[in-house]
């Protein structure tokens, strides 16, 4: 799964720099706003009176309107907004949602190899789009309708502060969206569970005696249910909790089933496991070694346009080296579970069905001076790269060995020998087949901690969608303070679009992506030639990028992909999103206050 580099940063590392940037932007915006307002006031009232007006407006916020907020009034206005939403048939959205869910089962691809991703992606994306559309329409039209109908007169002539008007509406629409999201989440959860839950029966089975243990090894095949079947394997030597347990193997459609050997000799196939999970990846830092073994920041480019991954050449000294921290017996009492999402670039077809061999070496990044050099790294652990799927390698603590000076294999202790005094461990990955390449990015290899609850993770995803909705409501209500309903709707939609494409705009500006703005595009379309002057849209692009930088990056809040791919949404991400949402709340509240404060509702 693609992971944005910003996800590797903890909240504690992110916050100081972000807060400083935020303060600078707020200061610039505030100064700009003051200057513009002063200019208008000078034209109408003269310079001296203008200073008085501006200072009175600013001090009024801090001494009067901003501090005498009544929660009762805010809740009253919020309740009004909820009632208004119900009157405007907001439940139709929920009806649409249920209708689509009812027929979704007919439309979704039942032969898909990743059903969990499909189901989760579908329900979460649909919830997201429906709630965002609802939030946009509700927030953009409410205040303009009140002004048009003049019902605002009976509000403004009460002791209602502009900030209370703003917050009341925001709270009301957020409440409606929250309730809708909660219900959608429940329905979605049931839909996903019922869609993925299935069972199999044993269709064929055979047993083979193991002469070493004198116990049977059973293998067999399950029935074909939910458009697939499994092979399974049960070793009578493997027991747990008094039962002989096996499992279906390999992973089919992202899941396995436990297989239990009953006392009467029959097999019982359990429910699916592994399709709904929330892996907790522990990421490390990544550097590369070239074919001569020298350290480099990036690996080879095999000619792909997308440079998210770098490549290492097989059967050379080339390697990808991860350094993990906090490796301790408390965190990894049983061993290391390494998960890898490696891409393979073949320069020769070879045996196309065969997976490319690789090896893993665990190494001490900074051994003590009197440590035995031979104990610095373990013997290579072989593996085979599974393309487009996550492969797992479990490194058991008592299986680590090294080769001493006499050539004998001896045991290594992971924590005493391979983990340095800072708790760090290096993991080297090499490709063992000549003329083939392994492609990896920082997030492609990680240690797997104890997974979290999938359903809690599911809830965290909805929390991210909720924060998106809050942002849309904030912008919608803000624009509605000075624009008509339809224009406020378009402005809110524009913030979403700009926010979604801010990365794209930045890439065009920096030349990462070829292209230009409207003038250059018009020239190209009409003349079918490249523009001589690449800077025709420079001003336009700068303005667009500046605007998109100020707007929230909506895709960042969308953690649907993480949940669909089975990764936990860590708390640092959520805290960052919450802080960003709060930052926009503060700024838009203040801006909304000043607009409402200076607006003549009867004009």
């Amino acid at each position: 799964m693609i992971v944005d580099p910003s996800e590797f940063i903890t909240f504690g590392d992110w916050f100081p720099a972000a807060a400083w940037s935020y303060a600078k932007i707020v200061l610039v915006l505030f100064s700009l706003g003051l200057a513009i307002c002063y200019a208008f006031a000078v034209v109408r009232h003269g310079p001296t009176e203008a200073i008085y007006i501006i200072s009175r407006a600013v001090t009024g916020f801090f001494s009067r309107d901003g501090v005498r907020i009544s929660l009762r009034r805010v809740f009253a206005l919020a309740q009004l907004a909820v009632k208004e939403s119900l009157r405007r048939r907001v439940l139709v959205v929920f009806g649409v949602f249920v209708l689509v869910m009812l027929f979704a089962g007919w439309m979704l691809d039942v032969e898909n190899d990743h059903p969990a991703r499909l189901y989760l992606g579908f329900v979460l994306t649909m919830s997201n789009y429906l709630v965002l559309a609802l939030a946009m329409f509700l927030s953009a039209f409410s205040l303009p309708n009140d002004i048009k109908d003049r019902t605002i007169y009976t509000i403004v002539t009460k002791p209602v502060r502009p900030l209370e008007m703003f917050w009341g509406r925001v709270l009301g629409f957020v409440t409606v969206g929250t309730l809708l999201l909660m219900v959608m989440g429940l329905v979605s959860g049931v839909f996903v569970y019922r869609g993925l839950h299935h069972s199999h029966q044993v269709e064929a089975t055979s047993a083979q005696l193991d002469p070493a243990t004198n116990l049977n090894q059973h293998s067999g095949e399950t029935s074909r249910d939910s458009h697939h079947r499994h092979d399974f394997f049960v070793d009578e030597d493997t027991t747990a909790q008094g039962k002989t347990l096996g499992t279906t193997n390999p992973i089919v459609r992202e899941h396995r089933h436990p297989v239990t050997l009953q006392e009467d000799g029959s097999m019982e196939i359990g429910g699916p496991q592994g399709s709904l999970q929330a892996r907790v990846p522990i990421y490390g830092t990544l550097i590369f070694r070239n074919r001569e073994g020298q350290e480099e920041d990036v690996g080879l480019n095999v000619g792909k346009e997308w440079t998210y991954r770098s490549y290492i050449e097989g059967n050379t000294l080339g390697a990808a080296v991860w350094t993990f921290s906090n490796i301790s017996p408390d965190n990894f009492p049983d061993g290391l579970m390494l998960e890898m999402d490696i891409r393979v670039f073949r320069t020769s077809k070879g045996q196309i069905e065969e997976q490319i061999p690789g090896e893993i070496i665990l190494r001490n990044p900074s051994p003590t001076t009197n440590a035995d050099p031979a104990r610095r790294q373990c013997m290579p652990i072989p593996f085979r790269a599974t393309e487009f799927a996550v492969s797992e390698v479990f490194v058991e603590l008592d299986e680590l060995k090294f080769q001493d000076n006499s050539g004998q294999l001896k045991k290594l202790d992971l924590f005493d020998d391979l983990v340095d005094e800072n708790g760090q461990l290096e993991v080297w990955i090499r490709c063992r087949q000549r003329a083939q390449f392994f492609g990896m990015a920082q997030a492609d290899v990680y240690l797997k901690a104890t997974p979290n609850s999938f359903w809690i993770n599911f809830g965290k995803c909805y929390l991210g969608l909720w924060m998106q909705m809050v942002l849309v409501v904030l912008f919608g209500v803000f624009f509605s303070t000075f624009l008509t309903g339809i224009v406020a709707l378009k402005a809110t939609l524009a913030t979403i679009v700009l926010g979604m494409f801010s990365g794209f705009l930045a890439d065009i500006q920096t030349g990462e992506i070829t292209g230009g703005g409207p003038l250059e595009s018009l020239y190209r379309i009409t003349t079918q030639q490249e523009a001589d002057d690449q800077g025709a849209d420079d001003v336009y692009m700068r303005v667009m990028i500046w605007a998109s930088d100020l707007l929230p990056n909506y895709p960042e809040f969308n953690t649907v992909r993480k949940v669909a791919y089975g990764y936990d949404i860590n708390r640092h991400i959520l805290m960052r999103h919450a802080m960003i949402t709060f930052g926009y709340f503060l700024v838009l509240s203040v801006m909304g206050y000043f607009v409402l404060r200076t607006r003549e509702f009867a004009a």
Binding site: R72, E84, T151, I152, T154, V156, T157, K158, P159
Partner: protein
């Protein structure tokens, strides 16, 4: 004003009474009370998007409204009455001059704690019912739940809408909506009440009840500023009036001072025969007076209406209020 004398034989005080009612008490305002509303060269010019002047709605208005009086703003359509009220409420901002309410700028939100406002049309939320409406506005004044319940009940009883309190406002007639509008203006027991065309859309009984209520509120010590283009309604209730025309103040003063015809005496008497009338005529001529008219007075259409419809016609569930006006 130099007009001929008339003789009505029934004493009537035309300065402050509602037709068909007993004599109303003298107004408490003698022009010397605390100033509640004050405008100083208040001017409002409507501009277009480019800032060019389009309409000068109010021109250098100077007026004061004192505590405990009913002050009327009169004028034809477009004279600036509603604009003045909106300036006082903070719905509009002055182009120049000042508008002060309770000695605070009209744009100061805190002054709204002490005022109630009945708009020209009852701009209320149609999807709420009467109880919900009053409860909502009560919450905007930070009134506690128990007190809101109590006041809501009192006000609904006052306006006679108990039988329709659970119906949504979209089902109300204009008169019913007007009553709810008045109730929301009184939810906070305000010191100052601004009424914009309060009798618009009301039938004669509703109009009379509204005027009685206005006088009653004045008697409770409240100050009322009302604007209307219905002269009879203003004459019946107001203590002082200001007449606006094209945004300018043309006349201001006490109603009785402005309307009393100083050089005419009016007497009304009952049970006179022709000889008595002739004798009275001669007495007047002997004193160098001029008999302008001596005839039977006419009642008013309003009196006739009340006599026909009756006192209880306005509050019953079977009244015409249930139908569209």
């Amino acid at each position: 004003m130099d007009t001929p004398k008339t003789v009505d034989l029934e004493q009537q005080d035309s300065s402050s009474h509602v037709s068909g009612q007993e004599e109303a008490p003298e107004p408490t305002s003698d022009g010397k009370g605390e100033v509640i509303i004050e405008t100083r060269s208040l001017t409002k010019v409507y501009r277009d998007f480019w800032g060019r002047s389009k309409v000068r709605a109010v021109k250098a208005l100077d007026m004061q409204v004192r505590r405990g009086e009913i002050f009327g703003l009169l004028g034809p359509n477009g004279s600036g009455k509603s604009t003045t009220i909106k300036l006082l409420l903070g719905l509009l901002f002055p182009t120049s001059g000042k508008a002060l309410v309770f000695d605070k700028e009209a744009t100061d939100v805190s002054k709204n704690e002490r005022i109630g406002y009945l708009p020209e049309e009852s701009y209320l939320y149609k999807f709420l019912n009467a109880e919900e409406t009053l409860d909502f506005y009560g919450r905007l004044f930070n009134i506690s739940a128990a007190e809101r319940r109590s006041r809501t009940k009192q006000l609904i009883d006052l306006i006679g809408m108990d039988w329709a309190k659970r119906r949504q406002l979209k089902e109300y007639s204009k008169g019913m909506t007007r009553r709810i509008g008045l109730a929301q203006a009184l939810i906070n027991d305000p010191e100052l009440i601004l009424l914009d065309e309060p009798t618009t859309g009301l039938d004669p009984i509703g109009t009379r009840e509204m005027k009685e209520l206005i006088i009653k509120l004045r008697d409770q010590g409240k100050t009322i500023l009302m604007c209307s283009h219905l002269l009879a309604d203003v004459q019946d209730v107001c203590d002082r009036i200001a007449i606006l025309h094209q945004g300018e103040l043309k006349e201001l003063g006490r109603v009785d001072d402005l309307l009393t015809v100083q050089d005419v005496t009016q007497i009304q008497a009952r049970g006179l025969n022709a000889e008595a009338e002739e004798e009275i005529r001669k007495v007047i001529e002997r004193h160098q007076g001029e008999v302008v008219s001596m005839e039977n007075p006419t009642s008013t259409l309003e009196d006739l209406f009340h006599e026909v419809v009756g006192e209880t016609g306005s509050s019953s569930p079977d009244s015409t209020d249930k139908e569209d006006d």
